[in-house]
């Protein structure tokens, strides 16, 4: 409300503010922008390349590429090549092994994250945090070596035990007593590989639980576990889910560790304790050396499927984690 009478009724409009940047700034912006854009271009190229190959294969092989379980390239005497290409078994294998890794790895990570945030004495805590972070730096081929020579004998024994007592649960029964190099063992190795990332995300979320809520719960006479149940879990649950999905993304794409420890068979296997399985990454490693022509394209298509899977999971995970940390719900 102005004290002065305005003669006309036109409301004030903002005026345009312009600036002409100096030459050095224009160069700077130009250089940086081109680099930024080229990152964009490179990825889009990768995605497009893979997508094109992927659709090529589906076009020539049909949707059975995804559903069929056979992968065979045979050349008869006349030099005619027959292709039977299906990643179905490997897709199922990827999911199986990753699922085992999640089921084993996520609870352990949550326990470790809770331990580090709420139970560990201060001196031990810094050492343990460093150790868990160091785990993230271990080369994957190290997990392959250790998994094959150290873990497998023990895990085979555990698998036999589980089979002995729990085989009435369908997942734990086996068609033959062949327990070596099973999805269970591969999943165990993967679980250890994803623990660092799930733990560090969970820990970050737990540590950011608003202090005033924790204090309010303690002031009401709660025990430590009571506080965790009432305040920490409701706050951090979606963050933990996001961390688990990041771990899942890592598990999908893991190659050498799984290749070493898992017995690749082109048939779907739901019995986790039985030594047969596969995943898409191992398929690519196995077949690329002798692949030519259509088979190579098909391998690229398989890689594309893996890429899309991992991409989807990672995107959802990042969304969730960012939500939790931002909102402080």
């Amino acid at each position: 409300m102005s004290l002065l009478e305005t003669p006309s009724a036109t409301p004030a409009t903002p005026r345009e503010i312009t600036t002409k940047p100096r030459i050095s700034d224009q160069i700077f912006r130009g250089v940086v922008t081109s680099f930024g854009m080229s990152a964009l271009v490179i990825l889009t190229l990768i995605g497009a390349f893979l997508a094109v190959r992927g659709f090529q294969t589906i076009h020539s092989v049909g949707w059975s590429f995804i559903t069929s379980f056979k992968w065979d390239v045979t050349t008869d005497d006349a030099g005619v090549v027959t292709y039977q290409l299906g990643v179905g078994a490997m897709l199922i294998g990827t999911l199986m092994v990753s699922l085992v890794a999640l089921v084993i790895g996520v609870p352990l990570s949550i326990a470790m994250a809770l331990f580090l945030t709420f139970y560990a004495p201060a001196r031990i805590k810094t050492i343990l945090v460093s150790i868990v972070d160091l785990m993230a730096a271990f080369p994957s081929v190290l997990f392959g070596l250790w998994g094959f020579f150290v873990l497998m004998p023990m895990a085979t024994y555990w698998a036999k035990l589980i089979n002995q007592y729990l085989s009435w649960i369908p997942v734990f029964s086996v068609q033959e007593p062949f327990f070596e190099r099973s999805p269970f063992i591969a999943g165990l190795v993967l679980a250890i590989m994803i623990i660092p990332i799930v733990t560090s995300v969970s820990r970050e979320v737990f540590a950011q639980t608003p202090l005033d809520r924790i204090q309010a719960a303690y002031a009401l006479g709660a025990t430590k576990w009571g506080v965790i149940k009432a305040v920490v879990f409701p706050f951090g649950s979606s963050g933990v889910v996001g961390g688990a999905m990041l771990g899942l993304g890592r598990a999908f794409g893991e190659t050498v560790a799984v290749y070493t420890v898992l017995n690749l068979v082109f048939a779907p296997n739901w019995h986790v304790l039985f030594g047969s399985g596969g995943n898409i990454a191992s398929l690519i490693i196995l077949k690329w050396g002798e692949a030519t022509g259509d088979e190579t394209t098909a391998l690229l298509a398989a890689g594309f499927i893996l890429f899309v899977l991992t991409l989807g999971v990672n995107m959802i995970a990042n969304l969730i984690v960012r939500q939790t940390l931002k909102s402080g719900k």
Binding site: V32, T33, F35, I131, A137, S140, V141, T255, F307, T310
Partner: protein
């Protein structure tokens, strides 16, 4: 009056000697029970001992707790037990991996490791013949070329995202995030089919570095972006208010303030790719001799050396693999630790 402090600070809430001795007694008793259970019943070996030990120690804790504090101690102690066991279960494999790598790796160590390649020896020969010099050189080339490609790209992209925030910034952000999800296998296969098969650049260290850059650029970009965002906005405003151009502000104020973090971002990116195996399988060929030309001819690298030893399967080749992984582990851990120490130093204001 306030100078008389004959009163000593105490912590009456910490565990009394009686509490501690009670706990120790409970643990020893559990160990004895577990040992007895293993001897007398069918439960076998370390697993059985461990399981019985944990169960009886937990029961002892719960009984003590409920007696002193009532019902709610049951859930509290049970949860604490499970959490402790879970944390230990994570800790054990890490220690085991380190122990194995060190003990098995050391067994194959000898000086000629770093002076010879495998040109005159086969992987199947006894371990003291030949070395991994070619792999060391290869890894070095891979790191250098990848850095040359990825660090400028990564940091400049991060600068675009944080300083210029031009059109498409959100999309670039999304794309960088997506890129960090590319499986290493796919990166390798991609370079194989799009570069090696098609362009004049064939299997060599350079193509390997290309594949590794696909993995390294997103890591460097994201970490650099986080670091640049940490530089307080008022620093930038101070520079601009003094009449400096944006380019000068960024170059002389923002980047130096973030310098430690940017170096950390680089080192972490290198640590990530130094240990990658899968992309190399498609792109470097894995030579046995020393190759000083990174742009042509097959090249070896540490992870590839290890992979070769592992897949050949004989005791000698596997021993070589362990030694190789120990060296690689030392390299990667060294990078990691230096990144951490550098990163924890405060950002200079």
């Amino acid at each position: 009056m306030s100078t008389i402090t004959a009163v000593k600070p105490q912590k009456p809430w910490s565990a009394t000697p009686k509490d501690i001795s009670n706990q120790v007694v409970a643990l020893i008793a559990s160990a004895i029970i577990a040992g007895a259970a293993v001897k007398l019943t069918g439960l076998s070996g370390k697993l059985g001992f461990f399981a019985v030990f944990v169960v009886s120690a937990t029961v002892a804790e719960i009984v003590q707790g409920v007696r002193k504090f009532g019902r709610k101690a049951l859930a509290d102690n049970l949860a604490a037990s499970i959490i402790y066991v879970g944390a230990a279960a994570v800790f054990v494999p890490v220690v085991s991996i380190l122990y194995m790598a060190i003990s098995k790796g050391l067994a194959g160590m000898h000086w000629s490791l770093i002076t010879e390649s495998m040109f005159n020896a086969s992987f199947l020969d006894p371990v003291d013949k030949g070395g991994l010099l070619h792999a060391l050189v290869g890894t070095l080339y891979l790191i250098l070329i990848s850095m040359a490609l990825s660090v400028p790209m990564g940091i400049l992209t991060a600068l675009y995202l944080t300083e210029i925030k031009g059109p498409g910034a959100k999309f670039i952000q999304f794309v960088v995030q997506a890129m960090s999800g590319v499986p290493s296998v796919v990166a390798g296969l991609f370079i194989f089919t799009s570069v090696i098969l098609i362009t004049p650049l064939k299997t060599s260290a350079a193509t390997g570095a290309l594949a590794l850059s696909v993995l390294m650029i997103p890591t460097v970009t994201r970490t650099s972006q986080e670091v640049l965002l940490l530089v307080p906005q008022d620093l930038r405003e101070a520079g601009l208010a003094l009449g400096a151009t944006q380019w000068k502000t960024v170059a002389t104020i923002v980047v130096p303030a973030a310098r430690n973090g940017l170096i950390t971002a680089t080192i972490l990116g290198v640590a990530r790719i130094a240990g990658e195996t899968a992309p190399l399988i498609f792109t470097i060929g894995g030579a046995d001799k020393l190759n000083l030309n990174p742009f042509s001819d097959y090249q070896s690298a540490l992870p590839f050396y290890v992979w070769k030893g592992l897949t050949l399967g004989t005791p000698e080749s596997i021993q070589r693999a362990w030694t190789g992984i120990l060296i690689l582990l030392i390299l990667v851990l060294g990078l990691f630790i230096s990144a951490r120490t550098l990163g924890t130093r405060k950002i200079g204001k």
